[in-house]
Symmetry: C2
């Protein structure tokens, strides 16, 4: 029975305001989301506990439904409700555990993930409303939605997205990803772009958004994007949309 | 001509994130919205300029459409567009001038106002999403919307709202106000209450909301509210909803 207890794995659904943190991933002296959650886990679980996220989010990037897992210590027999309540009382209000659920020992927040949904929010009015500060990308010139849509359509499907990812030290061995859906919704000065795919390379969503906006502003040729996508080893896209406008909406399993 | 110039009055439409300020009204050493706007006006107008708001908002209260006016110095011949752009470059991103318009010398942001629209936002889910922190009142118990609506309905019409206002030193001479409309919209765990009236006493919207919620939580009797409204000199309501959830939406002229 002790053995069964020692493998109690929990899946957490987490939301955070990215503006207040140096990203997800734990770092020395860093004010990161993972650090904050592990501090709370240590208090509630009365022992150091590692939390495994579905993936990193950069400084400034928001999460509405980040997923992570941890293994509760053998001695602990807290219910999921107690974990949620106790963790939230030990976390700043800018990080919230929305839900907790028990998960099989085979579940891994990162390796079991089958896809993700991200949303990118733009504000195209001349003045950014104060409540969207650090929560949307302000493009005050206004943009042509049809151009945005046309560029984004090119990205749907299976592609080698190498040109649209930032190098993170090690070269990516497999840079082929499948985007199943990109969806734009316009409401007044607000433009929201939703990306759903089986995975995204480092900074990929921000680079795809950057590409669409550059073309829509007439500062880049649609052709350049098409060529990079067709010949992924021919070059590299460089314009990364700011982190403020990006939301990790959901992780699919 | 100089005389005509010297009376150039401007009407500003202003939005701000109340969480970052000690309210609207200028105060010694205070980090207030009015102080910030007057600092920006002094830079752009090259002389001290007083701004007159439609009314105060307390620390924490948000504005989506606060109105204020100021008189441009005789020497200034900036256009409305230039005022907007220049003021915004001299303001923190948590205060934005949304629009400016010239107004007749007879226009006064406070005395010309014929009414106001406020919105109060509640979140009734067990966990407050991080993006609503300092932007909604968290009532985690959940509440009965029908009770909320029933209490709020009592407030519609012309009443002496003396029991539902905080004393601000001097007794209010005229505490009769007309509320033309109160409207609740529920979407999932979010409940928004919109108040429209010809004027509101100090803390009145927060006290009316506090009353509706207390009754809906079963912690106060509907009768108490009804009696206070019918016999305004008989007592005083004390439960003030937090400032975080309150938004000044619009000033009517």
């Amino acid at each position: 029975m002790a053995a069964a207890h020692s493998s109690r794995r929990f899946k957490l659904t987490i939301a955070y305001d990215g503006a207040r943190f140096a990203g997800w991933q734990s770092q020395a002296g860093g004010n990161t989301v993972q650090d904050a959650i592990e501090r709370a886990l240590a208090v509630v679980g009365k022992t150091p506990i590692t939390v495994h996220g579905s993936g990193r989010t950069d400084a400034g990037v928001h999460a509405l439904g980040q997923i992570a897992h941890f293994d509760a210590p053998a001695e602990s027999n807290l219910t999921t409700e107690t974990w949620v309540r106790a963790l939230n009382s030990n976390l700043p209000p800018s990080i919230r555990i929305l839900r907790a659920a028990q998960a099989p020992a085979s579940f891994h927040a990162r390796f079991s993930a089958r896809g993700k949904i991200y949303r990118y929010e733009l504000w195209t009015g001349s003045v950014l409303p104060p409540h969207l500060f650090q929560r949307a990308w302000h493009v005050p010139q206004g943009i042509d939605d049809e151009s945005v849509r046309r560029v984004l359509e090119m990205f749907v499907g299976e592609h080698d997205f190498r040109p649209f990812s930032a190098n993170r030290g090690t070269p990516t061995t497999d840079s082929v990803r499948q985007i199943s859906r990109i969806h734009c919704t316009r409401s007044g000065d607000s433009l929201k772009i939703t990306f759903q795919g089986n995975g995204f390379l480092y900074k990929m969503v921000r680079m795809l958004t950057g590409a669409a906006v550059k073309v829509a502003l007439g500062r880049e040729n649609e052709r350049t994007i098409r060529d990079l996508l067709a010949m992924p080893k021919s070059g590299r896209w460089t314009h990364v949309a700011p982190s403020d406008g990006l939301y990790l909406v959901r992780v699919l399993y």
